[in-house]
């Protein structure tokens, strides 16, 4: 009797990658399903407010297009975070440039706050979001990767292109700022 698919042990990311390379498109569905929500959380925590799904999609498209360069030295999720963070940095640069050239329309501000309201409903989450906004972009990335994603300092250093020591310093500065903000509010 053959074992049912539900009882099959969880396949590793590397096994799924190999299956996808062999032509099994369901393996891609499994990989996207496994990591997409974590990527969306990371994007939301990092301050992305609009187009999070598009960002996650771009991350996966880029990742799958260059899977041959993924050697499995880090986890696939860490690698995906690295790709997504680069995309977010590109976005921030592009937004900064457009802010410098195009004045912000009143209607844009309204739609932005509308999306934000949908994203964060409760007061506690709003306070957390504001406390994260008080951090520098790198501090915020390090802090959310550590607290919300549970990455090690080594993995975080890889994502943000830094050292473990620098990641530790960023984390300690961030936790101090967040605690002070939440206590004062």
């Amino acid at each position: 009797m053959t074992p049912s698919p539900e009882r099959r042990p969880e396949e590793t990311d590397m096994e799924l990658i190999n299956r996808w390379k062999a032509g099994d498109s369901r393996a891609a569905t499994r990989l996207v399903g496994r990591h997409s929500q974590a990527l969306a959380r990371f994007a939301a925590s990092a301050g992305e407010r609009e187009g999070i799904e598009e960002l996650v999609q771009d991350t996966f498209v880029r990742a799958f297009a260059s899977l041959d360069s993924f050697r499995g030295e880090s986890s696939l999720r860490t690698w995906l975070f690295t790709i997504q963070r680069r995309l977010m940095l590109d976005r921030r640069r592009a937004e900064r440039r457009s802010r410098e050239t195009v004045p912000v329309q009143e209607s844009d501000q309204v739609s932005e706050y509308g999306a934000l309201d949908g994203l964060i409903a409760e007061e506690a989450q709003e306070r957390v979001r504001k406390s994260l906004e008080a951090l520098s972009p790198t501090q915020r990335d390090v802090f959310t990767l550590r607290v919300q994603q549970g990455l090690s300092y080594k993995e975080i250093a890889e994502v943000v292109g830094s050292t473990e020591g620098a990641a530790r310093v960023h984390y300690h500065n961030a936790i101090r700022t967040v605690k002070e903000y939440l206590r004062d509010e």
Binding site: A40, F60, L119, V128, V178
Partner: protein, 187 residues
């Protein structure tokens, strides 16, 4: 601010939150938390921050999968090897050097006639006792390569002098001849 002095435990709090600690270390952290109020407060903050992240929008995985192109294996022969990439960099660097060197040569050639005039005009009294006629270096070379001047007829010499007047490299204003002054005579 966490007043606890045990930095090692503080660093493990996010791992405790994600239940990624091994048994013995987990017990140690939990035992510490039982006695340390600062670390308990910090763990509460971390828990709040972690739970706030749940509010990311739900992602439609099917639409993402539809955008993923089918796998195309990179054939080793098609991919450019590292060595040839290095060679192409060296070629590019060599080309850039050649362009810069060529440009420098052109610039130096353009500035040479002016330099020769300046050097001819700066003859010191001790170097010459005769009035100096300034002749461009290129034309002086041409004369030197010609037959002995004594073999030329008067007409040819006059014609040569007239041609020298038309040389472009000569300055518009005529340079004053430098006359050597004998220090003994001046006394």
């Amino acid at each position: 601010m966490n007043n606890c002095i045990d930095n090692e435990i503080q660093e493990l709090l996010p791992d405790l939150l994600h239940q990624s600690l091994d048994g013995a270390i987990r017990q140690r952290v939990e035992a510490h938390l039982a006695t340390c109020e600062s670390c308990r407060e910090e763990l509460d903050v971390l828990r709040t921050v972690k739970s706030a992240a749940v509010f990311a929008p739900a992602i439609n995985t099917d639409s993402i999968v539809r955008q993923i192109p089918p796998y195309r294996m990179i054939v080793p022969g098609v991919e450019q090897p590292k060595r040839s990439r290095m060679v192409s960099w060296l070629v590019a660097a060599g080309f850039a050097l050649a362009v810069i060197g060529g440009g420098a040569l052109v610039v130096s050639n353009q500035s040479r006639p002016a330099q020769s005039v300046a050097s001819s005009a700066s003859v010191t009294p001790s170097q010459s006792t005769e009035p100096v006629t300034v002749v461009p270096e290129t034309h002086a070379l041409a004369l030197a390569s010609a037959a002995d001047l004594s073999e030329l007829s008067d007409g040819s010499l006059v014609q040569l002098m007239n041609e020298m007047d038309d040389f472009d490299a000569l300055p518009a204003s005529e340079i004053e001849p430098v006359i050597a002054v004998d220090s003994v005579d001046s006394l």
